[in-house]
Chain length 335, copies 2
């Protein structure tokens, strides 16, 4: 059998996989310590929680992509616990971020603080302040609940079990026998599979439509249920990025290619805008709100759905920049 | 003095200008007869009114651009009367068109008639039907009023005076002495001046911003008062087109260049979307409407303002297609 010649291929799979998992587990534990030391409700605490979630995502993604090289039962159990932990910890941050996004949008939509002239402008000015107050009330309440849930989670025995499992992972990875094979035989193929899943999911996206600016598709009601393939691509892109990190970890190349970062950013924006649009829509279902408030929430919802569309356009542009070149004016001119 | 060599230049200005005005006046009278014969409220009547307005616009534009070649007092008086007539006749059609545009948008926004799933979808479904009924009521009332006003105008002595003036114009144009000069000395310069006014107005538009898709500028409240430069360019583009028609009339070239047609279409769309957005916003100020109705009107308003933005993008693309080529992905990727 032919021996692999490239550097990564010469190592055993476990020798590439284990150091990456050790490093991420170490990062998880470091962030956890920082989070405890920072105390509640400040910037350092938020930063630490963010780093903790990032490490948890990387560990979880690696367990998923390279599952055949690991003790599968252990990997599945740890992944489920990390998903629970990430989800619980993410709630507070995502409520804050959503509120900021929506208030910024309302501020932008109601113009730069000039005295409202008569006509169109008035309708929005009246409602925007009330809509902002309503969203602030609802999302602050949600954030408070998420905060309590996170505190409760961090004090639970379930959390301590996760922390113990990660602490163990920092020094010892439960490898399967397949991890004793050369990296190019088992590690690279698993990473390629992750890339293949991403490519297939991207191929199924309506990118041609997204490439046409102002297609107004994201605002159509039914299309909101069509967000999920994009959300799915966001997760698959992340798994692909982490798999690449594993492959390049030993080579000292830490950064993902700019293209993957930019694509991920567009898909994050897609998700954030979609969730913000839902929050605006949900707020509009509050009983007994004033029509002006409902009107402002309608404008806000549409604005965020347009940002969903803009994010799809941005993703498409990063992913297949060739397809974006301007159509000749004749095409635009056609009736 | 050097003599002009081109074909149009060899003719006298009046010999170019008069036949064009004769032809348009003839078209005006023909459309007027068709409109009378068609009877009220049918497709032929609408078509005839449209042709009548088109002829009135061309006569009026020509009187404006080539005013130095005409009896100025007569030209100003006829222009004022044609403006009154066009405005009165346009009301009914623009109410119908606006209603159609808004109902189509509501239909599109509330999706393809599927049973609404729970969640976001419901909010819009409930309100869209009510918003549609409200808009239909308001715009149908406005259209009925415009129809009465048009009927009254067509029966007035003021109208008969305009029709008489146009009938006279079909055979005789009150030229000024300057019209006896060669076309290249007075007619072409006047047409170039119209083009210059257009170019300066276009140069003052924020085209660089419009070229960037999803800039979200048109939805900002204050920017609605920034529609007017675009509306102004729409009128100047029309004057330029008609001036070109005059110059080429004698040469048998009737059609405007495709680029001017497409640019005009984009600016018509800009105007229509802006007016539809205002109508949605105005409807939202109706007292005692349900919050769901107001919400749907907010979504509709934002949708139409996005179409304003899309129309600016389309205009920019027709006008200076070079500037639209896709930025390299690195630019998109930058934070």
């Amino acid at each position: 059998m032919q021996r692999p010649e490239n550097i990564a291929g010469q190592e055993l799979a476990g020798e590439v996989l284990a150091p990456y998992l050790h490093a991420q587990a170490g990062e998880f534990l470091r962030s956890l310590r920082l989070h405890r030391e920072a105390g509640p409700d400040n910037h350092s605490s938020e930063e630490a929680a963010r780093a903790l979630r990032a490490a948890a995502r990387r560990i979880s993604g690696t367990l998923h992509t390279f599952r055949p090289l690991l003790d599968p039962e252990w990997a599945d159990r740890l992944r489920a616990e990390l998903a629970w932990l990430s989800g619980t910890l993410a709630g507070e941050h995502s409520c804050s971020a959503r509120l900021t996004r929506l208030l910024d949008a309302l501020h932008r939509l109601s113009g730069p603080g000039v005295p409202a002239p008569r006509g169109d402008a008035g309708t929005l000015t009246v409602g925007a302040a009330r809509a902002g107050a309503l969203l602030e009330r609802q999302l602050t309440l949600a954030r408070t609940r998420a905060h309590s849930a996170a505190l409760q989670a961090l004090g639970s025995s379930r959390f301590h079990a996760v922390a113990d499992a990660v602490a163990l992972l920092a020094s010892e990875v439960p490898l399967a026998s397949a991890a004793a094979a050369h990296a190019c035989e088992v590690l690279t193929p698993a990473a390629l599979e992750a890339e293949g899943r991403l490519d297939r999911a991207v191929a199924a996206l309506p990118l041609a439509r997204a490439a046409h600016p102002y297609n107004a598709e994201a605002l159509v009601q039914e299309s909101e249920s069509q967000d999920s393939p994009w959300h799915q691509v966001r997760l698959l892109l992340r798994l692909h990025r982490y798999a690449q990190e594993v492959l390049h970890h030993g080579l000292g190349e830490q950064d993902s290619p700019e293209r993957l970062i930019a694509a991920g950013r567009a898909l994050d924006r897609h998700r954030d805008a979609a969730e913000a649009a839902s929050a605006a829509s949900a707020a509009a279902r509050t009983p007994r709100i004033a029509p002006a408030t409902a009107y402002a929430l309608g404008v806000l919802h549409a604005d965020q759905r347009h940002d969903v569309e803009a994010a799809r356009f941005a993703f498409q542009r990063v992913w297949q920049p060739v397809a974006v070149t301007a159509a000749p004016p004749a095409a635009t001119a056609a009736p």
